[in-house]
Subunit: 714 residues, 2 copies
Amino acid sequence: MILSALLTSVGINLGLCLLYFTLFSILKKLPGNVYVYAPRLVAEGKARQDVDFNLERLIPSVNWVKKAWQVTEDELLSISGFDAIVMMRIIIFSLRVFTFAAVVGIFVLLPFNYMGNQLSFDFIDLSTKSLESFSISNVDDGSGWLWIHFGAVYVFTVFVCYLLYTEYNSLSLKRVEYFYSSKPKPHQFTVLVRSIPVSSARSINETVDAFFSERYPSTYLSHSIVRRTNRIKKLVDNGDKIHRKLTRLKSSNHSQQKFTRSGFLGLFGKRVNVLDHYEKKLENIEENVRTEQSSIFGKEVAAAFVCFKTRFSAATALHIRQAVNPTEWVTELAPDPQDVHWPFFSASFIRIWFSSLVVIIACILLTVLFLAPVFIVQGLANLEQLETWFPFLENILSITFISEVITGFLPSFILQLFLSLVPPVMIMLSSMQGYIALSQIEKSACIKVLIFTIWNIFFANVLSGSALSRVDIILEPKKIPEILAIGVPGQATFFISYVVTSGWTKTSEDLFRLLPLLLSFVKRKFLGYPDDDFEVPSVPYHSEIPRILLFGLLGVTYFFLAPLILPFIVIYYCLAYIVYRNQLLHLYAPKYETGGKLWPVVHDSTIFSLILMHVIAIGIFGLKQLPLASSLIIPLPVLTLIFNSYCHRRFLPIFKSYSAESLVKKDRDEQADRTMNEFRNKLTSAYEDPNLMPVQYSSDNQGLRSPLLGSAQA
Amino acid sequence: MILSALLTSVGINLGLCLLYFTLFSILKKLPGNVYVYAPRLVAEGKARQDVDFNLERLIPSVNWVKKAWQVTEDELLSISGFDAIVMMRIIIFSLRVFTFAAVVGIFVLLPFNYMGNQLSFDFIDLSTKSLESFSISNVDDGSGWLWIHFGAVYVFTVFVCYLLYTEYNSLSLKRVEYFYSSKPKPHQFTVLVRSIPVSSARSINETVDAFFSERYPSTYLSHSIVRRTNRIKKLVDNGDKIHRKLTRLKSSNHSQQKFTRSGFLGLFGKRVNVLDHYEKKLENIEENVRTEQSSIFGKEVAAAFVCFKTRFSAATALHIRQAVNPTEWVTELAPDPQDVHWPFFSASFIRIWFSSLVVIIACILLTVLFLAPVFIVQGLANLEQLETWFPFLENILSITFISEVITGFLPSFILQLFLSLVPPVMIMLSSMQGYIALSQIEKSACIKVLIFTIWNIFFANVLSGSALSRVDIILEPKKIPEILAIGVPGQATFFISYVVTSGWTKTSEDLFRLLPLLLSFVKRKFLGYPDDDFEVPSVPYHSEIPRILLFGLLGVTYFFLAPLILPFIVIYYCLAYIVYRNQLLHLYAPKYETGGKLWPVVHDSTIFSLILMHVIAIGIFGLKQLPLASSLIIPLPVLTLIFNSYCHRRFLPIFKSYSAESLVKKDRDEQADRTMNEFRNKLTSAYEDPNLMPVQYSSDNQGLRSPLLGSAQA
């Protein structure tokens, strides 16, 4: 790619960013859009809604940037929880790393690259000169200048490791502090027990009771047996939907909708009053739910939430293997009650183990073979094929402009479509793995999407050939450095434009929320939804964090190869810093709290990037006929791995569970607290399945729910 | 190798075996030799010593075989502990596997191999026909008969996995049973705490006390601080040695030894009475020990043995991370008091972590580069070199017979010498890794020796070229099946003779104990040692188990390649069965009890052998132009690994620690037991360093020792 082409791409995307920013700063001030841009504030009742119109509103402003900038970390912590802090820390950490990298890269490495003569160009016009002259490819083979690159690799690695260490340290301290300052939560006192052995003589209820009262006589509090409620959940969901529809119909003024037909899809059968029709349906559902709920008492699953009087005893039950047979009475951390994900719940050890295996294999296949179907669909969806499929489009497709747009746009659209399906598919796969909590599912999906992204964005572009030939390369570890050293530098310009489009523009788009904005507009204006029908989204960690980390990987690997990419990455992180802060303040509400369990993923990903950089460096110095430098790099990945192993031992356990010291301290601090008794009474019913609450959709009660099943034992 | 050469080798070794067996059955009945052949019985006072001589004694008998055969597993368990049972189970398991393999191999595979025509021979004389005609190499390329080998690989893998599962299952049940029936032992109630944070305000003693009384107020019993006693240990060892010498001198009648000189090595200085001289020395040592012991109270190490009232609470302290910082208050299972290994004890987390790293690197280097120095020494120690070094030997070396013996014998002698150094070196390396218990050191050394043996016996023979070129092969995983398929079948005859020499003869030699017999004879007859100066050896698991497992590896990998090796392996295991049973009954005394923690090593090694067999099968079927069979083998290693992962989850935790169920049951069973109070009182002093006991070598007290330091707190 020549410089002018890159400049054009940067220009277009910069324009798009500015457009999105301007539109956002105007549209967010329009009254109806508060549900799109600050649903979280609305839900918390904090959104001011000025109804009177004034001109000032139509002037774009940067006020929101100032607001987002001014929020302190502690404020953010109290608003969005610890996971949001970790998310921001990833960006701050990356900003530090790449500011340093950019300074070194642009002011030290770039001049030496430019002064090289390895690539011969026409020197008349800078704009036609290939961007490659700014990369390491332009340094003469065997030149002594390469030792500067060598030094830069060492210095950069040490700097990143230092930052990784301090960040891990500070976050682990903050995590413990956050735990000390947190209010008592049910999941801290509870463990989930699966694979309870079933005997015909006793019910599961009695078995659990006997087992834990015998082993923890002084600290065992109560338990709730898990029940299969899939069918009730379906009914209740359906009922909720109809109930919402009914409420909407009652409040709306469209009289033409008041009648429908009772048959299939409201198209056949006799004409009935819509309100009566839905109310009758709701009554039916209520009846069904009640019948199901009364029969559910027998449908016990061999799993239970077991609550203890103190956090320390819950931790004891968690960490010590309970039964002689390690596949029975398997304990794990209980998630927060609202974090529990029921649909794929599986009680048996064998089933969880087996589904994990299947999911891992499915993930590997999806990751490795992903591009194959994309290519097939792209091949099928060419212009001629479209004409044979949809003959009526023939006239339209023959217009040059439209055909050009389709030819240029369709393949990339198909790729984007397939890519956008990946995070939900990974979420689905992770949920089939038998995790009980949404947070665990999302963390696991995050790792899967990260691996997927690195393989299908980075390696697919760097290594030519089919998916299987790329796997082949992995099977020949000796050749990897050379192959990477040949492939990676050539893709520098591609990745620069990738940072600009997928980084800058995508982030501004996230701020502008084009799709939700349109959806909300259509819903309100055409479908007659009331204003207060909106959802507060939660942070989509599983799709955002892999994206942020991919840019980190690009920056680290290209740092000494093609430093020109670094300023673009720094600008991306600046944008992301402001945009995510704004979103965390106004848009996203935390759905759960993991206490920053995602940081170890970030740490490992950064270490992987460093090792990848070292491997490429080994290859590059080999290619550049500086074998000594190539050999002298080898200790670096080894030392990095040793550093990583130290960090794992030093910090990882803190992110896995709390220590006896913390737990006992927290338990003791609350001993004098009188509200704890009340909390413990509530604890016994905290893990009741919400689907077992009685359902009533009478017009004045908005789906009243109260505990139906008392806990098994107090 | 041709058949006749192999038969000669087998004949010679068979003769040696018979000779050793005969000599053993005669010599063991001679009165003085009871200290060599049954020291364990002597130590337990169970050895009958008939002093009167009769002719019957000189007739070889197989009585001992009958005795060794008749012992039941339960008897062996009560005599030699659970680890001995595991050792015997390895042999029984191998016997089952290879009896099945031999039947399939000899009666199904061998005829097909022999009927092949791939290798062309002179068919006139069977004895000159290469043994290769019995191996898979002789089957025609692309022949359908190869599917029989294919089927055999599948059937054999399923059979071995089935046996592995039942064995793991039965041993894990037996381990729990053994735990239930065991007497209370100090280590069950104790954890070792390292990396105690040191503060200047409080002593370690107070810190430990405060930490555990706060966290385990109702179950914390006491603790013993670890102290640096290296210097005292040296003094005490020296004193013990002199004391033994003195006792020997007093009881012996050699008057010529009663005088010595007081100077260097007893050669210079004034002539003194030996007895007086040593007694004075002993007094000096006693004095020094006392001074050191009184000053040791300050030399606290940041580590302690912490005892609890119940096993369950000790397990709690073990499994839950104690401090916020995972590198402080690190807990681990305490070993039995007599199992504690002090010399390399290290309290700090960083030092243990770092020394582990160094040891791992040292082990890898030793394993990979081992053969290089051997070759160098072998190259140096040729005949001409010897003549230049020792000119006076020139005449002797010129005798053809002697020069032939040296040329033939010296290289193998040098290799054996280096090989025999490996187990002690590995023990030393493992002890530097920071393990606290001899049992842990020996288990870790066992794994190291196993890897060393597989690499330097199996792979060094199979893969030609230098050590580094072998490492190179490992770095190209795609080529491994082919390289192994070419290399492995060719070494079948070498490994048959290896089984015969290193298996049959070495095992009979172990029974005969040639070296200890000679040593004991020389000591008693010439050096005037008293009869009762003998040591009861413990089972050298770290050198024996790798040997037993190597033959397993050979059997598994050659099962479908060259089934002729299988009968030799079956005979080896039969020999080993009888010999080890005899040794466990009469010779070895258990030094510690791990509860069979070595079985998982055996399991993993067998799984490795199976995978290796599959890899070779993939290569062989590829070479034999049956690519379909080659591809159809691929699921087999995958399924085997899945099976292994299941076994790991199902059984491994049982071998790592005991469950809450077992611990609570055991604690409760003993609640009514009155002796428990007495046991708990003793517990507080169980972990005192033996070197801190007062020392007294007065003539009537045989080195009296009694607790000097009370425990820190009851």
